[in-house]
Amino acid sequence: MAGSDDFPLSSSTGGFEGARELLAHEVVVIGGGLAGLRAALAAANAGAEVAVFTKVHPIRSHSVAAQGGINAALREDDSVESHAFDTVKGSDYLADQDAVMLLASEAPDRVREMEHWGTVFSRAEDGRIAQRPFGGAGYPRTAYAQDRTGHNLLHTLFETALGQGIRVYEEYFITRIVVSGDRCLGVVALNIREGQLHSIQARSVVIATGGYGRIFDRSTNAVINTGDGASLAYRAGAPIEDMEFVQFHPTTLYGTNILMSEGIRGEGGLLWNGEGERFMERYAPKAMELAPRDIVARSIQTEIDEGRGIDGKPFVHLDITHLGAEHVKERLPGIREICINFAGIDPIEKPIPIQPGQHYSMGGLACDSDGATEVTGLLTAGEAACVSVHGANRLGGNSLLETLVFGRRAGVAAASQAPTAPEPDEALMDVALREEVARMNGILMRPVEERHADLKERLQKVMFEHFGVFRNGPVMKEGLEMVQKIKAALEITGIDYHGSVFNQALVGYLEMESMVELAEVIAMGAIAREESRGSHSRIDFPDRDDERWLKHTFAYVGEDGPIIEYREVTLGHFEVKERVY
């Protein structure tokens, strides 16, 4: 192993070392959110030896923030077919229909299993799991635990994993996915706390690193959502899919952009503009406030852009004052708390100021319904992945579900492939480790040309302004150039702290690398796709164009930037139609 002799920089002068100890696990799961923990449990259950690596403690993962709920056809008068149809229609027909059928048909078991493991779901009169209506769904099928569904699910999975003795390496940051030929050999990780790099051998690696919302300004996502896993896998040769489809949530709290759950509208919340109009009448007269997210987000943005925000400001009102104090306290306690703490408003008394914000990443690492990517031994699940069940627009409540359904499937597949994987190649892992040590020390030794935090802020602004709710060819082209400039600037700058223990400057730099890489792919995919579909809404191409664009975007890493290709969408269950609500 690379020892300190090879890398004479010691921690007091700054600098990183490779750890002598080689870590090896049969299945390595990257990410301790819902998808990662569910995959780890499934792999362990299938008899594999598993370890989870995560950059924050599992319960600090972004999954914990999910509010509204999780979809499943649990009741006799609902059906898998209807859940699948709503999902496909919601996706603007870009979802792969075979994957959607799996999502819907495995949903009831996955949700009930969480109940069996201890999740305290809210209950209906008859004692069964309560469900609420959610946008774009023809049936109230969103199961929930108050407005803290993610918290409840994640804590349950964490507790279950603890009970089963799943090994978790927390505060390990993956810096590289090691691929030789077309096979994944393992990963290199930075132990943030010790400040050492490790090579970790694995027979299967599951990427469950979540979304990349923080590429955008005004995001509901946790600060740590920087898309590392998808970006690293892409740089290691796996294609990423449909990255131009970015969901903007219609209702995020003005100021901090903390999410104001769709559950608020599910409970009867109303949207008003500055002129006192319930403006959704103009955009979705039937579904009104409960039209799908992309439609409501565009409606609000249009009101704001046309000067009908509240007092002309960039927000409108989400109103639940008519629901009554009791109802709000019982069903939406978390929302009320957020409004009080972060906006100084009690929604029982006053309407909530909201604006659209980035919320969810539909695109991700391309994979099949067992999580397999194009790199052998490299699997993926959750928001990092693109199966694709969300197509051009995800329905609320379907992504928590995706983490459980496809997390489990990826875990099973990872375990079943492991025994047939060839013997790990220690020499190659060692080379990778040395390269990473040299790379980290390179970042440390470079002078600070520009603070990476400033570059990040610039990137976020460019992405929101040039690739936001509404898009336009020339504006996007200008945006792409700016992204490429930021990428070039990042490559030559260093960081201002050189210690090894808890070096968040280095972590921030590495996250920024991930973000700018993905931003470029989003930009190119969006410019190329000359139509409007789901969340991708172009002023210069306002219509959906199935003839040319009913297809998935695949991006491969190339010498001079992304190489874009296209793949067929899997149809077969539901006929492609116009999407009206």
Binding site: R112, E115, V120, A222, D496, V501, Q504
Partner: protein, 262 residues
């Protein structure tokens, strides 16, 4: 506005020192926002934990003006207004900081009762180990029904929700004088978690949980000081849960002392 932040660099500092940062006007309103402002624009060497910035992930527990709080949930303006703390003091909470001017500066220090790794980042090993000690996972009364959820009364769910809401931020442990004095005491959050499973009608262990924790390391060690109740950002009231554990344990006839013995 000024932040006075406790710094500690392992391998270089022998004891913590304080560094003052000058900020234009309160950015982003919260203390976490102010820390980001420092890290992003002035000094990338400063370390602190964060994730959600919305008071749900439990990462950012620290001592702010001598009160354990979530940095992301604490408005700069509220701290400056200087509500005085009603906590029973001990250890670092009790120690004066030289040169600190509470009128003009916000004092930010690591969460008490845990070893400091660097700056505001503490070693939570003891907290996680304590949690594991109470075996916080569901042990069902019987095999769950195939293809069905177990029914639950709305009332039972509502009763559980307060305890289930714990975000494991460790503010309670950082505020607890017993955690400070007794290295083996499991602490409020772990015991509240035990109560969560005790109260869950689906869990079979019931009195087994009381027996397991009827020790000085467990709920017997608690003196009902209730600092934990005051600092908890989620209104979990761990002290109340411990009081109930004590009460229920007292009702049990000839209860075996727990596995740790006293």
């Amino acid at each position: 506005m000024r932040l006075r932040v406790q710094r500690f660099e392992p391998g270089r500092d022998t004891s913590p020192r304080y560094q003052v940062y000058e900020l234009e006007d309160p950015p982003g309103q919260t203390v976490l926002g102010a820390l980001f402002e420092v890290q992003d624009r002035q000094d990338g060497s400063i370390a602190f934990r964060y994730s959600c910035r919305g008071a749900v992930c439990g990462s950012c527990a620290m001592l702010i003006n001598k009160v354990p709080r979530l940095a992301c949930k604490t408005q700069v303006s509220d701290v400056m207004e200087g509500a005085t703390s009603n906590l029973q003091t001990f250890g670092t909470i009790d120690q004066d900081v030289e040169d600190w001017d509470p009128e003009t500066e916000i004092l930010v220090e690591p969460l008490p009762n845990f070893p400091v790794i660097r700056d505001l980042v503490v070693d939570m090993t003891r907290f996680w180990n304590a949690l594991e000690e109470v075996e916080p996972w569901m042990v069902p009364a019987e095999d769950p029904p195939e293809g069905l959820e177990r029914p639950m009364e709305h009332g039972d769910v509502v009763k559980l929700e307060r305890l289930v809401g714990c975000i494991l931020c460790a503010l309670c442990s950082g505020s607890c004088p017993i955690v400070h004095d007794e290295p083996d005491f499991l602490g409020p959050a772990a015991l509240a978690k035990a109560r969560r499973f005790y109260e869950d009608p689906r869990d079979v262990r019931r009195d087994g949980i009381l027996e397991m924790l009827y020790t000085e390391e467990g709920f017997e060690g608690c003196d009902l000081i209730y600092n934990c109740v005051k600092v908890c950002p989620r209104n979990v009231a761990p002290g109340g849960a411990i009081r109930k554990l004590k009460k229920d344990a007292a009702k049990l006839p000839a209860l075996e002392r727990g596995r740790n013995g006293i």
